[in-house]
């Protein structure tokens, strides 16, 4: 039986790569933590005072306590939920917009392309951080504004990539052949071209996730992010004042938690690119 699709083949190569497999496992662990925290099964009582103020890490509290005597580990887990949700929601906003606009622009060309190109050039002309700050400030501080701000900025890259790739595929003879056997625009674009560009969405999503997580941390640090809940960014903000007093565990916890997941998404993105992007094959 030799029925190995390109996807299965790519997945097999991905799992053969130790680093990629490890990254995938880390991402899955973070996702489960986020899910469990969201359902309140873990870290539901993060706000409870469980000990003295600023206790160093110990057997009961592996990452110590913060200034209000709250368990830092619980805060880190709770922060995981915020971070992962930002990655997820941003992707859910960016992917449909980016894919649909990019595909339409690349496939139809002409004025459709002109319009969509203008749209994303306009959006990318406002430096990312400025647009993020403006949107969160205007929508009012909070996680909702962060979702919208990151979603509004991150479809641009995907749209540009998809557009370019669809343009390339449109000229390929397999698409012309689909037209020759009587297939319409819908069939050509959605059944033939899009399956050939989905790898870009997957690679981009992996990199998008880490960008969203990093941005959420910075926005939260600036006080624009989630309110009344712990985020890795607010924890780092707290640590800014604590560090000179030797209280390092809050910073260490938040930084490490973020480092691992961002690293995993980075490695995964690279591995996905290697195994899915045919252009790079054989290098």
């Amino acid at each position: 039986m030799k029925e190995n699709s390109l996807w299965k083949d790519a997945f097999r190569r991905l799992t053969m790569d130790k680093w990629a497999l490890g990254s995938l496992i880390i991402v899955l662990i973070y996702s489960s933590v986020a899910l469990l925290a969201a359902m309140g099964i873990i870290a539901g009582d993060w706000a409870k005072e469980v000990g003295a103020s600023n206790m160093a890490p110990n057997g009961d509290h592996w990452l110590g306590t913060d200034i209000f005597g709250r368990d830092v580990l619980s805060k880190v887990l709770r922060g995981t939920q915020i971070a992962m949700s930002v990655g997820l929601v941003t992707s859910l906003i960016a992917i449909p917009i980016g894919v649909v606009l990019g595909a339409l622009a690349g496939y139809f060309g002409g004025w459709v392309d002109d319009l969509i190109t203008w749209l994303y050039t306009t959006f990318s002309s406002i430096p990312n951080i400025m647009l993020l700050i403006s949107i969160t400030m205007i929508l009012g501080k909070g996680i909702f504004a962060v979702y919208i701000a990151l979603g509004a900025t991150s479809w641009v890259t995907l749209c540009r990539l998809i557009r370019g790739e669809v343009m390339k595929h449109k000229e390929r003879e397999y698409v012309q052949a689909a037209g020759a056997i009587g297939g319409g625009h819908f069939r050509k674009l959605f059944l033939h071209i899009l399956p050939n560009v989905t790898h870009i969405v997957i690679i981009n999503t992996s990199l998008q996730f880490q960008f969203a997580i990093k941005s959420e941390v910075i926005l939260s640090y600036l006080g624009l992010g989630v309110q009344g809940e712990p985020s890795w960014g607010t924890m780092i903000d707290d640590a800014k004042l604590e560090l000179s007093r030797g209280v390092w565990w809050q910073l260490a916890g938040a930084t490490t938690a973020m480092f691992l997941v961002v690293l995993a998404f980075n490695l995964l993105g690279d591995a996905l690119r290697d195994s899915l992007d045919p252009k790079l094959k054989g290098k």
Partner: protein
């Protein structure tokens, strides 16, 4: 006898791949005497290019290994040279021309600088002198207005000119050995002939040795002294060109010689390598009925019914320009073309790239919208039908494209690809019925049923082209356009596909338009031939007579550009 300039002894090249070690060159030995041309012939993957890269020392190092062998050049083993020693040889004593002139030049430097660079590496001369020499070389390789052209960038030149620049670069230091790796494969036939003649002239002038690599024995007939035939990493035969062409011993060589269509000879089917040997390489006797020659004239008219009539067809594309990208003019890719095609016949369209033959084919199928004129199919004007009618028309008219690698969707299995046309047109009552129809045709084009669930990348180029043919025939069309459908294939595979197309034509009573740049192929397969140039059909005649009495100068040029597939006769006697 003096010792040869280059002597390859028992060369083995291996590649480390994900699946283990593969041997690309197995125990290959041959000599290139000083001042002689040797042709290395074989199909893609036979190891001929790898051999040449090994001589140049250009194999990608960690992946490629040379566990055994010697490459003696001028009495020294090149395999023992270190990097800087090899660099002093490369471009200076041994130089190389590659297949793809389009990508082989650096896009951001002037061509004059790129030629001068080669000279400055190996000769201690000033920039000015190097530049003047570059201009002189460009003159020698026949680039018009060399002093001006030297200031051009590669994208401002045609493919043929770029290949001339590559040649100028290669002969800049008057090397002793010139390696040419399929230097004409990417070029039009008339350009191919000019480049071949140029290479031969320069070889004589500079008294170089030349190693000419090709998949097409016909190409080197005119220029090679000796021929080495490679098959699956091994040398299967080597001899004087004379001997190879007239008394080939190995069945593979015989197959290669026989599979190229020749003007004048009209076999019913082309012989292929598989007529001469089986899969294991054991020689077979050619069955006599395979070599029946027939006269197309004698064939009684299959029908007199006209299937397709094209009247004054024009297809034009806007030329954008000016400030706002407004349309400033139109380029007429197809310019006032008219012809009629009878049922069951084949019309061959021949011409060089850019002559409009591809656009004409696509305009007839309405894949490109014609600007004026009319297309009458089966008595009905289809120039302006739309939507549903056009869709129904697609059942009757099909197309087979040139590039077998890009014409199959890499994300679909072969059974999905073959049943898709049936799904679109609601042919067949059930999934199973459609699958059965796919199976039937899949076998008919000569592929194994067990491969039906594979993906395109698991097939070779020739196999993919068979799949494309099967897909085109799934809807049982009456009319098929073959757009350069065999041009991307090695000659040995090309013959098999041509035979298949003829078999299918007989079985399904198909009418073909066969588009190609190769007049000998068109002449073999078509009943009538139209020669296209500048968007017009400039000459049209019966296939059997066009090569005897060409009326237009352009047709004559095309005819004379066809490699004869014979040994050079007067050329070598001149020397």
């Amino acid at each position: 006898m003096t010792s040869p300039l280059l002597s390859v002894r028992n060369l083995v090249v291996e590649f480390q791949t994900g699946e283990g070690i593969t041997r690309a060159v197995n125990n290959v030995s041959f000599d290139i005497p000083a001042g002689k041309t040797i042709g290395i012939v074989g199909e893609s993957g036979s190891g001929k290019s790898v051999t040449s890269l090994a001589v140049m020392g250009l194999l990608q190092k960690p992946a490629a290994k040379i566990p055994q062998g010697e490459i003696i050049f001028n009495g020294q083993d090149l395999l023992k040279f270190n990097d800087s020693q090899m660099r002093a040889i490369r471009g200076n004593q041994i130089s190389m021309i590659f297949q793809e002139p389009m990508t082989s030049l650096n896009p951001v430097f002037k061509v004059g600088d790129q030629i001068a660079e080669t000279i400055r590496i190996h000769r201690n001369i000033s920039n000015k002198e190097a530049w003047d020499r570059a201009v002189d070389l460009m003159n020698q390789v026949g680039i018009p207005n060399p002093a001006l052209s030297a200031h051009k960038y590669p994208h401002e030149m045609s493919g043929g000119q770029k290949q001339r620049v590559m040649i100028a670069m290669a002969i800049a230091c008057e090397p002793k050995l010139l390696i040419a790796d399929e230097p004409t494969t990417a070029l039009d036939v008339t350009i191919q002939k000019q480049v071949l003649e140029l290479l031969h002239k320069l070889q004589q002038q500079y008294k170089m040795s030349m190693m000419f690599i090709t998949h097409d024995l016909g190409v080197i007939g005119d220029i090679a002294d000796d021929v080495v035939v490679m098959y699956r990493s091994n040398v299967v035969e080597q001899n004087k060109a004379q001997e190879i062409f007239y008394t080939a011993k190995h069945p593979y060589t015989k197959g290669l010689l026989a599979c190229r269509p020749k003007l004048g000879a009209n076999p019913r089917r082309l012989l292929t390598v598989s007529d001469f040997m089986d899969d294991q390489g054991v020689e077979k006797h050619v069955s006599p009925e395979r070599v029946v020659v027939f006269d197309k004239e004698q064939e009684k008219e299959k029908s007199s019914e006209i299937l397709l009539e094209v009247k004054n067809l024009v297809t034009q594309f806007p030329i954008k320009g000016g400030f706002f990208g407004r349309t400033v003019d139109h380029f007429k890719a197809v310019n006032d073309v008219s012809f009629t095609l009878k049922k069951g016949k084949t019309l061959g369209l021949v011409g060089e790239s850019g002559c409009g033959k591809t656009t004409l084919g696509r305009s007839i199928l309405r894949l490109v919208e014609p600007s004026s004129g009319s297309i009458i199919y089966n008595g009905k004007d289809i120039t302006h039908v739309y939507a549903e009618e056009l869709r129904l028309l697609r059942r009757k008219m099909q197309i087979i494209f040139q590039d077998p690698y890009s014409s199959l969707n890499p994300r679909m299995t072969i059974s999905e690809i073959l049943t898709e046309p049936l799904n679109i047109h609601n042919v067949g009552n059930s999934k199973q019925e459609r699958l059965d129809m796919a199976k039937q045709l899949f076998e008919k084009v000569g592929l194994k049923l067990s491969h039906l669930n594979r993906y395109p990348h698991e097939f070779s180029g020739g196999q993919r082209q068979r799949i494309c043919i099967a897909r085109a025939l799934m809807l049982r069309p009456e009319f098929v356009i073959c757009d350069e459908s065999v041009s991307a294939l090695d000659v040995s595979i090309q013959a098999q596909v041509l035979n298949l197309l003829l078999d299918l034509q007989e079985e399904f009573h198909l009418t073909y338009i066969f588009i190609s740049h190769d007049l000998s192929v068109v002449n073999f397969i078509a009943d009538e031939v139209g020669v296209m140039n500048g968007g017009k059909i400039i000459e049209m005649d019966k296939a059997s007579s066009i090569y005897k009495n060409p009326k237009e100068a352009y047709t004559r040029a095309l005819l004379s550009a066809i490699p004869k597939g014979e040994v050079k006769s007067d050329l070598s006697s001149m020397v």
